[in-house]
């Protein structure tokens, strides 16, 4: 396995005694960061829960105006990207320099596709006049007094998917940096913390989507035929 000797390792940073301590600290730091992300999205989940419980019928109609097949396929793409990400981590655990780069590029690719599809979906909303705050806003099948509530749904939709997409974009930036570093041979079986930690972030963003998909696209769809 160790046929690729690490071409470069970072010195153990001065505040740590051992590499194991350094790695442990980074991993713990990332997990705590992810907890802050749970709470960040948590605010949005709270908003969603409150309004969904108040206006279930309008939310069901608004929900079913989204194309759930596209949503499901895009979910699949994102899950694929998580798979390639974990494969990149595995490649770095094994010190397979080339495979790290390949899997990171694949991850980037799937992430890019996801964002592209998302952009397409957003664009649809503009064409359908499902943009909250615009005078032309109208959702078919909802009474005039429900249109405000429908706007709330789309406000939540845009806030949630928008902030999720922003996290994806940040993830793409991280992947690009990692790819550059990996090509320089920075990572090896004994030093791959950045790949590992970036992987945690990427999977987390995936998990957020795993919840956004049913919350926004699926729940109560059956009520609207």
């Amino acid at each position: 396995m160790a046929d690729h000797a690490p071409t470069e390792t970072f010195a153990l940073r001065v505040q740590f005694d051992t590499e194991a301590q350094q790695k442990d600290a980074s991993t713990l730091g990332m997990w705590i960061f992810l907890v802050t992300e749970i709470m960040f999205f948590g605010g949005l989940f709270a908003v969603y829960t409150v309004y969904r419980s108040w206006y279930p019928n309008v939310f069901a109609i608004a929900s079913s105006s989204l194309n759930e097949i596209i949503g499901a396929l895009n979910t699949g793409v994102l899950l694929l990207s998580s798979f390639t990400m974990v494969m990149a981590v595995r490649a770095s655990q094994l010190g397979q320099q080339k495979m790290i780069v390949i899997f990171l590029i694949l991850t980037l690719l799937f992430g890019g596709i996801f964002l592209g599809v998302k952009a397409y979906e957003w664009n649809q909303k503009f064409e359908e006049h499902h943009i909250p705050g615009q005078a032309a806003f109208h959702l078919d099948g909802v009474l005039p007094e429900g249109q405000g509530h429908a706007q709330l749904f789309f406000s939540i939709y845009f806030a949630m998917t928008g902030l999720h997409a922003l996290h994806m974009v940040i993830g793409v930036g991280i992947l690009l940096t990692l790819i550059v570093q990996a090509r320089k041979g920075r990572f090896s079986a004994s030093y791959y913390t950045p790949v590992d930690v970036a992987g945690l972030y990427w999977h987390f963003v995936d998990i957020i989507w795993i919840f956004l998909f049913p919350l926004l696209y699926l729940i109560d769809r059956h009520l609207v035929k």
Binding site: F16, I32, G42, A46, Y51, Q134, S155, A159
Partner: protein
Amino acid sequence: MITAAAQERENYLNASHGLKSWFLTKDHKRIGLLYLATITLFFFIGGAFATLIRVELLTPQGNLVSSETYNKLFTMHGVMMIFFFLIPSIPAVLGNFFLPIMIGARDLAFPKLNLLSWYLLVVGGMFSLYAMLAGGVDTGWTFYTPYSTTYSNGYVIATALGIFIAGFSSILTGLNFIVTIHRMRAPGMTWFRMPLFVWAHYATSLIQVLGTPVLAVTIVLLFLERVFHLGIFDPARGGDPVLFQHLFWFYSHPAVYIMVLPAMGVVSEVISTFSRKAIFGYGFVAFSSVSIAVLGFLVWGHHLFVSGQSLFAGMVFSFLSYFVAIPSAIKVFNWTATLYKGSISFQTPMLYALGFIGLFTMGGLTGLFVAALGIDMHVTDTYFVVAHFHYIMVGGAIMGYMSGLHYWWPKMTGRMYPEAWARLSALVIFLGFNLTFFPQFILGYLGMPRRYHLYPPEFQVLNVLSTAGASVLAVGYLMPMIYFIWSLRYGKVAPVNPWGATGLEWKTSSPPPVHNFDETPVVTHDAYDYASLMAEEVEVG
């Protein structure tokens, strides 16, 4: 006079020179000093707004500034003091400097992140300062919707963005502390040998990490509503402004403990040192910090009693609010028990710490008053509430900060401050504080509402007293400013352990070397082991 030996010894201050060595430093001690300078600036800006408020309230007619300007004054006072001074204060300055040393580490786990946190605070502060100079904000520090989203034409976005950015500073500091405490302790530094200051910061960090992101997303939603008309809290579309208040106070009630827990940590250190006794009930004090952090998250609804919140929820939150008082009471009890039969000396840090206990108790008890749904209906939005939170935030948190600053000043700078002046200033601050804020309890009880600059003439006497007190308080705060700076040049050179205290920070030189210790310390005793310290002294003597 500075001895040649003291001058020669290399320490974190003289190890490198030049602006770059400061602005790109990764040394937690230098970063602590950067924070000290920054938040001192913010404190005096916030103080300037307070001065204007108090001068305006000298007369009942409201003839100094217009109502609009007055709204901006109290908003900007609150924003500066809470988000840019009190939240960072003890953790970012004293925590940054001493937490790694107290657990025997060479630095925090993520030094670059630590520097980034400081820059975030500075950038956030710049945004908010820009907003203030450009025209100000008038929403109150609470930014309630729909006023903040729809009607206010002040610089809401710039200010809120500043708070958002500063929030990340706070989150990252908390994250750094938690990882450091878990992963960087020196050999022998078990959890239950950690100083209580470190426990308090652990609890504080939990709140920063769990609460602040909710404030962040709330600000994002405010931004989206104001700029893109998303209307999440817009009643015209069936949205509920009370939901904004829930999200805001989910952070902001726990945030009051971000401000006061670190001060409690300081007080535990100082009380023990100047009584020359181990803290009574160490385990209880340590756990009470953590339980304050946890329980603090369950009571936010007590800020919504008179909003549209349901009566049922009001009752639940009122009930839960009583539990949060228990751990605080435990602390006060244990400090008092530590004093009992201790050999107490009344140096400046101790004076401040005793001041903290008294004033915090007062603030906490009135907190229980306002947490009672029925009483709060009467005093909400009056000066009673203003007095309540100032007793805790100024009487408590700032007293703790001053205590810590004096206690550790010799270690941070290598110089002693002038004791007599310092005692005098502690006294002036204590008296000034009470003169300023005690009348406000009475004013509130009599029904004077907060956030107005006009008031009925019969309230004038108490308001004049309060303004007089504020002037005394201002003098009290200026004095340390002067003698601290004076001491940098003329103060006596500080010995390694001027107070004869336990704790690793007193085992390394004053000021400490770049990586804190010449050799990684090995801890063999519990914290506050004065009993064996004194036994050793007897043997040696």
